[in-house]
Amino acid sequence: MSERDIINNRTNRNAFVHLPPLVRLEHICKVFGKVRANNDITLDIRPGMIKALLGENGAGKSTLMSILSGRFMQTSGTIYVDGTATRFDSPRDAINAGIGMVYQHFMLVESMTVAQNVLLGQEKGFIISPKAMEAEVTKLAERYGLPIDPSARVSELSMGEKQRVEILKLLYRDSRVLILDEPTAVLTPTETEQLFEAMWRMADQGKSIVFISHKLKEVLAVADEIAILRRGEIVDEFHESDVPNETVLANRMVGRDVVLAIEAEPVKPGSVVLDIANLSGDGMESLSLTLRKGEVIAIAGVAGNGQKELVEVVCGLRKPVSGRVEILGLDWNKFYPRPPRKGKSLAYIPEDRQGLATCKYLDLVDNFLLTTRHSFTSGPFLNRKEAAETTVKIIDEFNVQPGHIEGTARSLSGGNLQKLVIGREFFRQPDIIVAENPTQGLDISATEEVWQRLLEARNRAGILLITSELNEALQLADYIAVMYRGRFMDVFHKSDAAKVESIGLMMAGVTAA
């Protein structure tokens, strides 16, 4: 996020306010298996307005926009374009209706020029002239304030320029609704400012813009209307002038209301398993914490404030720049890169369970062996039979459905895959468990199971829980550390009611009085 504050000086942001909405989503629901990604969402998208969809990862923003851009079909509900109910069977239908999306992963042909990319599929005539194409793109780019060299090859462009090409593609197709999915994630601060200026200019010319983000500051700076999504539902909607402040937004986004409660009897704390002192660098600023056996420390905060870097250091994926990190009594340099095979171990339950935690094309036994193979070796050989038997046991114990060990990891739903990962990691009898958003995208019953497992594990391990769900932190943790821009705003016991009350403030960077 830019350190500088971005000033929105659009003057005519209500120029089109008298016009009816371009697009109206009514009672949209989307179900993937058992998970409700979107639930009864109703949303108006108006001309000349920048609508921000604010929400944590997994809140359902991208799913909703994929429905609007024709990638997914909604389970129920209706999309109205210009007041008429419309059905999108493919992105092409959505493009024809004037709705286009800039994906986080650009859809550009790297080896072609900017002009070729913009006009691909829209060329006039059979024979094409590079000069004429480039002239057209230049004209379009000037009109919307998106400077670009139309003859440059896309492979030579910066991320910000590539994004401009994507936007130009949509503008060339006369899209009236432009959906930008986390557009600033890949941009430098200057590029971010340029993007916002272009967004305002497009809105001034009557385009509707939907801006997906989980960054509060940006949303406040750029948007005319803000809708907050959480767990697949719109929990709040404001007009820009009614926006209270960042704290309220943060609170609404992470949710204080108890969706699910669980009995967490405290466990008597044991020996220190993780000791971090003054860890700095890579965006982190003098982080210190001590984790004991039997404790859960939750790192709360809006994603992208340094949690990922902290986890990577603790799990050995990133070298600490400065400060001391002691894992199970061993210095970081002793513990990594070859953690002791027997006895002391650290288990990592990553957020990215389909990428980092498992290999989707391998079967369950192979996935089980990914981190546990040392227990099944005799000399250079792997005892697969024993591993398969153990996998079956784990599958039964952790209630993984469907429990066929020959099935591939990708045949499991998110919740079942997570249970397999947890079973695998617990099998190693870890002394430290690092769990990163362990219930993200899971339904209520799976969430409860995962929580139960984590609480049981306190008997033998200390748990570092990274979560962007406040309720999860409050339910599981003994101590809560609130992280903002690489710092711990505060670390406190969850019985400290006053501090718990001000978590929202701290997440927005305000120090508790």
Binding site: M107, L108, V109, L120, F126
Partner: protein
């Protein structure tokens, strides 16, 4: 010692030997630009050569034979498309199988005709141009297929760079998802790539049975299909460099034959090995990756349904 009378025939033979390779290289290049790696060039080429022979033999019209050579090889290309696009098969495996199939079919169906002669394309002096000194002797005293091949790289370049379909085909080879997001159909582009690429490969085969020789023998292609596959890489998927590469190999082939004819003291098997040794050397040098010489980004990657 080295005189024009010696050099010009060798260079003319170079063009002649290079022509079938040029057809096959451009054909494979077209297929690969659409994103499909087809290692079945050798099989398509010899099957095309057989088709050309067969139809010329029965109709007496080498142009019919030429067209049918394209169809024969193009149909094999479609078979590769069927395996890769419909059944999501591995492109390398399917291509290798296609070579075995094509060579086997041509051998099997061609057995009754081995050694049988037919009409074909014969050299004629190209009006006006053939009287240019040196150049005329090298380039313009050939048959119609050679003259046709001169225009092909230009047409290829123009198609890929200056037409809507060429752009769409290149997009299918570079980034099928972007191609389909632009409202185009990358799968269709690849069908076109395997068929028309195969068609060109077949014309290269036809050259062997209708112009280079006027008869049918087994193993007529003698590895030229494989050389074409290597040349596509050597040419960095650009038609201009393909011309250079094809004539380079044609030159080596012509040269070693001339050497044999002159009674060189080197063992003939060593000379025969030259083109293939050069293939390996060329691949060694050109596989070092650099700017502007990259393969189509999605080459060899099937388009999964629903993408």
């Amino acid at each position: 010692m080295i005189t024009a009378e010696l050099i010009i025939p060798i260079l003319a033979a170079t063009v002649q030997s290079g022509t079938p390779i040029l057809y096959a290289t451009l054909g494979e290049m077209l297929t690969e630009r659409s994103g499909v790696l087809n290692l079945g060039v050798e099989g398509m080429m010899i099957f095309g050569a057989f088709g050309a022979f067969l139809f010329t033999y029965f109709t007496g019209n080498p142009w019919v034979g030429l067209f049918m050579a394209g169809i024969f090889a193009g149909v094999l290309g479609l078979l590769h498309g069927l395996v890769c696009q419909v059944f999501q098969g591995n492109q390398v495996v399917s291509g290798l199988a296609l070579t075995i199939l094509g060579v086997g079919l041509a051998d099997f169906l061609g057995t009754p005709y081995v050694g049988v002669a037919t009409t074909g394309f014969t050299p004629f002096e190209f009006p006006v141009l053939s009287s240019i000194p040196v150049i005329g002797g090298i380039f313009f005293k050939h048959d119609a297929l050679v003259y046709l091949s001169y225009t092909l790289p230009l047409i290829f370049w123009f198609f890929m760079n200056r037409t809507r379909w060429g752009l769409a085909m290149a997009a299918a080879g570079e980034h099928p998802a972007a191609c389909s997001a632009a409202g185009l159909n990358p799968v269709l582009m690849r069908w076109a790539g395997v068929f028309f690429g195969g068609f060109l490969v077949g014309l290269g085969g036809a050259y062997l049975s209708l112009a280079y020789t006027h008869l049918w023998t087994n193993n007529m292609t003698g590895g030229r299909g494989w050389i074409a596959v290597a040349l596509v890489i050597f040419a960095f998927w650009r038609p201009g460099r393909a011309v250079f590469g094809a004539y380079l190999f044609g030159g080596i082939m012509a040269f070693q034959m001339r050497l044999q004819a002159l009674g060189a003291t080197l063992p003939s098997s060593l000379l025969l090995m030259l083109p293939y040794a050069l293939t390996i050397i060329v691949l060694l040098f050109s596989s070092a990756r650099g700017k502007g010489r990259a393969a189509p980004a999605a080459l060899g990657v099937n388009i999964e349904p629903g993408e």
